[in-house]
């Protein structure tokens, strides 16, 4: 039986009938940018970024939530994808390849980087793995920052700009589309392109989760020794988790480069890895619905804070005591601590028939 994780994860009182729930979510996803457009273009931009983060969170969830491997350098794969796009579709090297070559290449390079990271760390678990992956992320960032000499490859801290936008079948997504007199904003075009990617990723990962591979990952996460004993090739499965997770990061990174038109090492700091991790932790590790909700919540957070926290502080104290960026970091760190103490399984906990009731986050 294929269980719908969303319906199971919600508390009984909130659980809508599946037949109502699914069209509702689809409708909301399709209408969201139009509602956001009414509130201002910056909100559509936030939604676009939210979808990129959803893609990242889905990938990291594959590694952390499904296979139980804590990866703190995940943003490195995002960087690999973004720089691949920047190298192969920008005036930096004068190469302008179409997206259907660049995006798969970025995904493949990220996947290879995932294997390169996974291979030496196969024997490590838990905290050691976390530190080594963190180090990997930092190494990638140091190289991005310094590979502008003696040969200029990454252009150093200045980054690479005027990157080619996403162009699908002659349609340039960075320009507003004029359709029978209607102006369709480029932000909306990107939104639907990203939404298509996210939906594809969700279906793929959902199928993976309930497949033989997904069950093997769950077994490794819950008890690696037992998994090995029942004949699971744990090395292969862990490498696969790393490689697949990294691939999602690579795709997301490529789309990010195209959308932003600019990449620099600053976008790929450790803080970003932590933010993506917090999205999963907050939403519910191992549960796709939770991961999506967590990613959207945390991407929207800075914007919400800018619009509400600042005026509120002005009204209460007459000045801004904490600027939104600081407040965001404060809330993020508190979220990690409090969630682990109070609700370690996240807002929408994963409840699959393979999980133990007492070791939900193992």
């Amino acid at each position: 039986m294929t269980t719908n994780s969303t319906a199971l994860a919600l508390p009984a009182s909130f659980a809508l009938d599946r037949r109502v729930q699914r069209p509702l979510v689809i409708l909301l996803a399709l209408a969201a940018p139009l509602i956001a457009l009414a509130m201002g273009k910056s909100w559509v931009r936030v939604l676009d970024f939210a979808l990129l983060y959803v893609l990242l969170a889905i990938g990291l969830n594959l590694v952390v939530g499904f296979a139980g491997l804590l990866d703190l350098g995940y943003i490195a794969f995002y960087a690999v994808g973004a720089y691949t796009w920047a190298f192969l579709a920008s005036p930096h090297f004068g190469i302008h390849l179409p997206f259907w070559i660049v995006l798969p290449l970025g995904a493949a390079f990220a996947g290879l980087a995932g294997i390169a990271l996974g291979f030496p760390t196969l024997r490590l678990r838990g905290d050691y793995l976390a530190i080594v992956t963190l180090g990997f992320g930092e190494i990638i960032r140091i190289f991005m920052n310094n590979l502008n000499q003696p040969i200029n490859i990454t252009n150093g801290p200045q980054g690479i700009d005027s990157i080619d936008p996403l162009t699908i079948a002659g349609l340039d997504l960075s320009r507003d589309l004029d359709l029978f007199g209607f102006q369709i904003s480029s932000l909306l075009l990107y939104y639907y392109a990203f939404l298509a990617c996210v939906v594809f990723a969700l279906i793929l990962v959902r199928r993976l989760q309930i497949s033989r591979i997904g069950r093997a990952w769950a077994a490794i996460r819950d008890d690696e020794l037992a998994a090995k004993a029942i004949g699971i090739d744990t090395r292969m499965m862990k490498l696969l988790a790393f490689a697949l997770g990294a691939t999602f990061g690579g795709v997301s990174g490529g789309l990010f480069a195209a959308f932003q038109g600019f990449v620099s090492p600053e976008s790929f700091s450790l803080m970003e890895s932590i933010v993506v991790l917090t999205m999963i932790v907050l939403g519910g590790m191992g549960n796709l619905a939770g991961v999506v909700v967590g990613a959207i919540m945390l991407t929207a957070l800075p914007e919400v804070l800018r619009h509400f926290a600042v005026p509120m502080q002005m009204a209460l104290f007459g000045k801004t005591l904490l600027d939104p960026e600081v407040l965001r970091m404060l809330l993020l760190s508190l979220a990690m601590i409090v969630m682990m103490l109070v609700r370690p399984a996240g807002l929408l906990p994963a409840r699959t028939r393979y999980a133990h009731r007492d070791r939900r986050t193992a």
Binding site: V64, G68, L70, L72, P120, T121, R123, L124, R125, G126, D127, Y128, A130, I131, V132, L134, G135, F136, E138, I139, I142, N145, N146, P150, L270, I274, L277, V281, L322, V326, M329, L330, L332, S333, L334, A335, M336, I337, M340, L341, P344, R359, T361, A362
Partner: protein, 310 residues
């Protein structure tokens, strides 16, 4: 030859600071099997609290002798860090002691970022100049080798502290309780040891060492900053793994070796890679060593434990 001696000296200075921080990691790991991610940030807290005291005091009483300022700075930084360390353990980690491994680790990352954010709120984002309380006027005991009183002071203080800690752990009653708890919580409890008290004491001692390391670090680099704890924290962790995590002499050896490797690496990397890499890659060494140790000798230089148990 002069370059060699100079690099050795520089390596010993940074290495002894890494060793002090590494001791905190390794003590907590030895007892709880937990990587206290926030430990590096205690170094930052120590440095900034000391800086605050020194600047307040020198503004209130002008013309005080720098040694008195230094003592006052340390005398506030150490208790503050000890209190913070205790609170982290009490509020953050104690309730998660029997939780799945991932939970305390994520909490630790959260605590680390919380400390940085709070420091950013209190002291701002800017880099603060840390005053020169110990003279840095260079001396030249040998032609071509430059050493400052501050560097000698750093090495002496670090070694004295390490010696003191070894005595505490090996000779005192508390030290015996710590070793027993590290061996086995439950059995130690049956022998009448208050395991919670011992764990709290471990956090407090480690935090005190981190505070002192913070003052030494900030003095040597003459800056203090809300995110300054991250890199030395990571390197100290590498040092602890290099020496064999859970092993006190290992942490000291690991710290010194890492300091030396970094110093020589930064000095010679251009020759070794034919000018392709330069000293801006200095920070990579720690990670490369960490990776290599975990792959080829997970138990570290002096350790007997196996990383796979982590």
């Amino acid at each position: 030859m002069e370059t060699f001696l100079q690099q050795t000296l520089n390596g010993l200075v940074s290495g002894s600071i890494y060793a002090l921080v590494a001791l905190g990691y390794t003590m907590v790991y030895g007892i709880l099997g937990l990587i206290n991610f926030a430990h590096g940030d205690l170094l930052m807290v120590g440095a900034l609290v000391a800086l605050q005291t020194v600047s307040l005091l020198s503004a209130a009483v002008p013309g005080l002798h720098p040694v008195i300022l230094l003592i006052a700075g340390v005398a506030t930084a150490v208790p503050v860090c000890m209190a913070v360390g205790y609170l982290i353990e009490r509020i953050g980690y104690r309730r998660l002691r029997n939780a799945p491994r991932l939970a305390p680790l994520i909490t630790a990352i959260g605590v680390s970022f919380l400390l940085q954010t709070l420091a950013m709120i209190i002291w701002g984002r800017e880099f603060h100049v840390f005053p020169q309380l110990v003279s840095t006027s260079p001396m030249e005991p040998m032609a071509g080798v430059v050493v400052s009183p501050l560097q000698i002071f750093t090495i002496v203080v670090a070694f004295a502290l390490m010696g003191g800690l070894m005595l505490l752990v090996n000779k005192s009653r508390l030290g015996r309780a710590m070793r027993a708890t590290a061996e086995n919580h439950r059995v130690a409890g049956l022998m009448g040891i208050n395991a919670n008290g011992v764990i709290a004491a471990t956090f407090i001692i480690g935090s005190g060492l981190a505070a002192l390391a913070g003052v030494l670090f900030a003095s040597n680099y003459a800056i203090a900053h809300y995110a300054m704890g991250f890199t030395p924290g990571l390197k100290a962790f590498t040092a602890a793994v290099l020496g064999g995590i859970g092993n006190l002499p290992g942490a000291m050896v690991g710290g010194l070796v890492l300091g030396l490797v970094e110093s020589f690496g930064a000095g010679y990397i251009e020759h070794l890679t034919f000018g392709f890499l330069n000293s801006s890659y200095q920070d990579i060494f720690a990670f490369v060593i960490l990776g290599a140790v975990l792959i080829f000798r997970p138990s570290g230089l002096l350790g007997e434990r196996v990383a796979d148990r982590a």
